[in-house]
């Protein structure tokens, strides 16, 4: 299984947090996700289509979602509401879009973002599409990126 397509999403995540939030994030070891495994409390999801089909999601514990968006807009937000869902959607949108420049072989189109809020929800991928989970650590806490992409390769 070729999972090199995950790398542009990892580097895009590092760059987006550094540029937009002035936060250094460190990726952990990628692993294959078992469907049904819970993620965190707030997930931003973007669909990918074109030469490959799938989705990328970023999933945050509530406190990390609050701190991430607060850092991005330069103002403290204390509750999960429209500002957080919009902000998390924009973060995953920037990461997916920026990663595309290093995935030109797939000719990907990205959807508008969706954001799911709920404790320990799970993002399920279609059967037969592998989902790679990349944990991240940072000074504001942990979060996870999930990339599921059905490719011909």
């Amino acid at each position: 299984m070729d999972v090199a397509y995950v790398n542009p999403f990892i580097s895009s995540t590092i760059e987006t947090f550094k540029t937009m939030m002035k936060i250094d994030v460190q990726p952990g070891k990628p692993s294959l996700k078992v469907n049904g495994e819970p993620t965190h409390d707030v997930s931003g999801i973007i669909g990918l289509s074109g030469g490959a089909q799938g989705a990328i999601s970023l999933s945050f514990p509530k406190i990390v979602a609050l701190k991430s968006v607060s850092a991005m807009i330069g103002m403290e937000i204390k509750i999960i509401g429209p500002e957080i869902t919009d902000g998390i959607g924009e973060i995953v949108n920037i990461i997916a879009g920026h990663a595309k420049q290093n995935l030109t072989g797939y000719n990907l189109t990205i959807s508008l973002p969706n954001v799911v809020v709920g404790k320990n929800h799970s993002v399920i991928t279609p059967t037969g599409t592998p989902c790679i989970v990349v944990p991240f650590t940072s000074m504001i806490g942990i979060f996870a990126m999930e990339v599921s992409l059905k490719t011909e390769k």
Partner: protein, 118 residues
């Protein structure tokens, strides 16, 4: 200097507005999609610069760019795409259709200042 920011993300509009204020640009209008952006532009001329996101509901930024360039009354408006669409082909496509410059998200204040020629 009057700037119109067209982006479906309220968060991004707020970030850009704060960033522009730091560059002493305080006359900033906002719109949440290309259709509203086009109407806001026509109703508030003269506007110097339009910052245009690409992926938006109702009317995307690329369609909006083409509509702006097809309107003779808007020919002097500087249009700068400000989008996460980072592929070279998209950049070329937008410049061919008349975008004056292209900012790829994520961006720094320095990049915005340079691309908007502030």
């Amino acid at each position: 200097m009057k700037i119109l920011v067209v982006d479906d993300s309220n968060t991004m509009r707020r970030i850009i507005k704060t960033l522009l204020a730091g560059l002493n640009v305080n006359d900033v209008l906002e719109a949440e999609n290309g259709e509203v952006g086009l109407a806001t532009l026509r109703n508030n001329m003269p506007i110097d610069i339009v910052m245009l996101d690409w992926n938006m509901p109702v009317m995307d930024g690329f369609t909006c760019l083409k509509a702006i360039r097809a309107d003779a009354t808007l020919k002097n408006v500087m249009v700068v795409m400000c989008t996460s669409e980072s592929e070279k082909g998209k950049v070329v496509e937008a410049l061919k259709e008349g975008a004056n410059n292209y900012i790829v998200k994520p961006f720094t204040p320095e990049i915005v200042k340079e691309k908007l020629k502030l």
